[in-house]
Symmetry: C2
Subunit: 445 residues, 2 copies
């Protein structure tokens, strides 16, 4: 019998737990799910005979060591900052570990020690990071193997509401952490564009978008991600002329969202005076110049250069930003106030389903000709529990866990899934769960 | 004989040292000037029989204690972050202390201890902070004393090149720390405008300016400072409807400067790839969208919405931002690269003189009528050593030091010069050095 320990029973672990329990009989596994909130863990185990929920605090080092020692593999689904102590325990007790998070420098530095102890620490095996790495490296390696030379790589991902439930003027609902959406892009976006490094400051980011098409899902708008340059190293692409990663929204989102950035509403670094008692209308007015003979709507429309009746202004009105309704949040930053309003309006309804869209574009030269492969994936959620996000994070983690336990993944040390020995096996199994890419081929010359 | 210890022999201490040495015979003082760079200190003492230059490292606690113990008063002209250890030594040896810097919370917390030890720690007695506090509080207290009720207070200050030497298209040269000018305004500007709190994000700040006139010096453009709201407490102005502080430039500066903010060139948080070898032209192009058939000039003019031949574009060209000249700075942030270019062009020439301009506007009600006082000061530098900045920082520090040594300022504890017992004496003596305000009176009704 092999014992799987999962730490963290949050949103993204539902599908993971289900997969592992569904396969537990066949492989003779038990699944132990620990969370600070034991009831939450119990709800995910759902009285499965091979599952057990426990109360678990990652700061309880004694418990952590006991649980890790008793497990055959450990999956950490905690927020990324907690992985380090789990990793330390895994090293101590020689246990394999899997996470869906970006590998930190601290964990990367455990590589040699993990190799010495003959264990694998596999990170970034969710959707983004995860499926993006695997599906990109598959095509990149194929192009190389066939003697092609990659010149441009662009990769875009979005978490959106599925088209059937896309019924608000923003064509967007929160399908993941709202805070991350509100503060997305702060800092600078860096990428490589036809041989030239490009830098876009946050306050220009939502103006510098492009439109792409994905299969028969229509148009999407792409907003540059923060650091695309690091993927030159990660994917070993020293000679490409273009390296770009972006986030997908439906067209029109970025221009309207940019209104909030221009006003300053996404700032999370200072507190608004008397934020509890002001109204949303006061809040907006605080960011506009004085003008005693104009309404807040008129001033905003002037300030942003949108017509009063424009689609952009309609989007803003629809959110209720002009309402004389109390904010009711003490000591709140602009970003927190904006988030509160958005959470009311961009809420995923119980019957709504979400969608993950990913598309890579590869341009390469072969036999003196320019060619392009466009590789696209769309996954829709099944329900409010098995959302597209939970499926696309959980299934690759689960498959990787299975492949490690069954000895099919044999790498040792600290890894992300960019090696063929890992990605080819995982991608193949993902197809059984509807997670697959459709490739389109074009000749550019 | 009274012994004055000055720590730090930087730019702003020339006039301070001169004042104290000029008065040393009369008051029987000696002046000891310590700096890491002993030669710099020697050049300021200039072999005056009552002066002595010493090598001084503020981290050498033993030396610090010996020097403070031997002094009757200590003036710290070090960067603000070093004042704390000086203040600790002053407390230990019961010595009065004077600085021209913003008082830190750590030093403010020494108030009771300083009172117990019967010493004064006087901070913020330079120009801004310093002369601004004193001149504002004088008028504020006068309005109160006459039964008036202050409704609006606005205060603006600028360090500029004197009009006679104002010969570049920006109407600006560096008269103080260039880095502070490059990163000025980052964060959010907060003020109170006719009863409404207002917040302006950095990327809108240089668009939200106003024009004011100062005496016969013509028009100035005002850019809001970061936190005007704290002055509600500092000046005890609970009931005013407007509280605003700003920085003055010549009209046209802000709009052109905003180009750099819009591009992202003032960002000091990340490093530009290969910054040593790129040219200024590459650098600018890195912030512009791709466009193979357009020049960098055309793309920039499009991006900013300035005509190719506009005054704004002329200002940018004049700086050399389009030149194919190597930056030559390794691992540089955008802000550092921009600063290097500006330092070449905005350099104060040996014969140039600088100028400090300050203006307060007070609106108040008295006997049912609205009245306004506009109080303005202009100080020009004498030469490259006794600049307007050095004079307006050094003279008030020197006067306050004299008034403490002669027992005319008798406050104890940690203070800034907002009490009549301090400001009235200092302001009166400042007039002897040409540092005086001209008041203009208007009836608004």
């Amino acid at each position: 019998m092999q014992k799987i320990l999962i730490i963290g029973a949050g949103l993204s672990c539902s599908t993971l737990v289900k997969y592992l329990l569904d396969h537990s009989e066949k492989h003779n596994w038990t699944v132990r799910l620990g969370d600070l909130n034991k009831q939450l863990a119990e709800s995910k185990i759902n009285q499965h005979p091979r599952g057990e929920a426990i109360e678990f605090n990652v700061f309880d080092t004694d418990l952590l060591n006991v649980e890790v020692e008793n497990a055959d593999i450990v999956i950490s689904m905690l927020p990324a900052r907690f992985h380090y102590s789990v990793a330390e325990a895994c090293l101590k007790h020689n246990k394999n570990m899997v996470t869906a998070s970006y590998v930190s420098d601290a964990i990367r530095n455990m590589d040699q020690e993990a190799k010495n102890r003959n264990i694998l620490m596999l990170n970034e095996i969710g959707v983004d990071p995860g499926i993006d790495h695997m599906s990109a490296m598959k095509v990149i390696d194929e192009i190389k193997e066939k003697g092609g030379k990659l010149t441009a790589f662009e990769s875009n991902t979005g978490g959106l509401v599925a088209p059937e439930y896309d019924n608000n003027p923003w064509k967007y609902k929160f399908t993941w952490n709202p805070r991350n959406v509100v503060v997305a892009g702060q800092g600078v976006a860096m990428f490589l564009d036809r041989g030239q490094y490009k830098y876009i400051p946050y306050h220009q980011l939502f103006k510098r978008t492009e439109i792409i098409q994905v299969l028969d899902y229509g148009d999407f708008e792409v907003i540059p991600n923060r650091d695309s340059l690091k993927y030159l190293d990660v994917y070993g692409l020293k000679d490409v002329q273009t390296m770009f990663r972006g986030t997908m929204r439906r067209p029109g989102f970025a221009c309207a969202w940019n209104s909030f950035i221009r006003l300053g509403l996404t700032d999370d670094t200072y507190v608004i005076q008397d934020s509890e008692n002001i109204t949303y209308r006061n809040f907006i007015n605080s960011f506009l110049p004085y003008g005693h003979d104009r309404t807040v709507e008129e001033k905003l429309s002037d300030y942003l250069g949108f017509g009063v009746g424009s689609e952009n202004m309609q989007k803003l009105k629809w959110l209720g930003i002009f309402e004389d309704r109390k904010v009711g949040l003490a000591n709140a930053t602009p970003a927190k106030i904006l988030q509160k309003l958005l959470e009311e309006k961009w809420k995923l309804e119980p019957t709504d389903k979400d969608m993950i869209v990913m598309q890579h574009q590869f341009v390469y030269e072969k036999d003196g000709k320019q060619k392009k492969i466009t590789s696209s994936m769309v996954v829709k959620g099944q329900d409010q529990i098995h959302t597209a996000m939970s499926i696309t994070v959980g299934v690759p983690v689960a498959i990787a866990t299975k492949l490690i336990l069954t000895g099919q993944i044999r790498e040792k040390g600290v890894h992300i899934p960019i090696k063929k020995g890992i990605y080819s096996l995982v991608l193949k199994e993902l197809e059984n769960y509807g997670i697959k890419f459709t490739d389109e081929y074009e000749d550019l010359d």
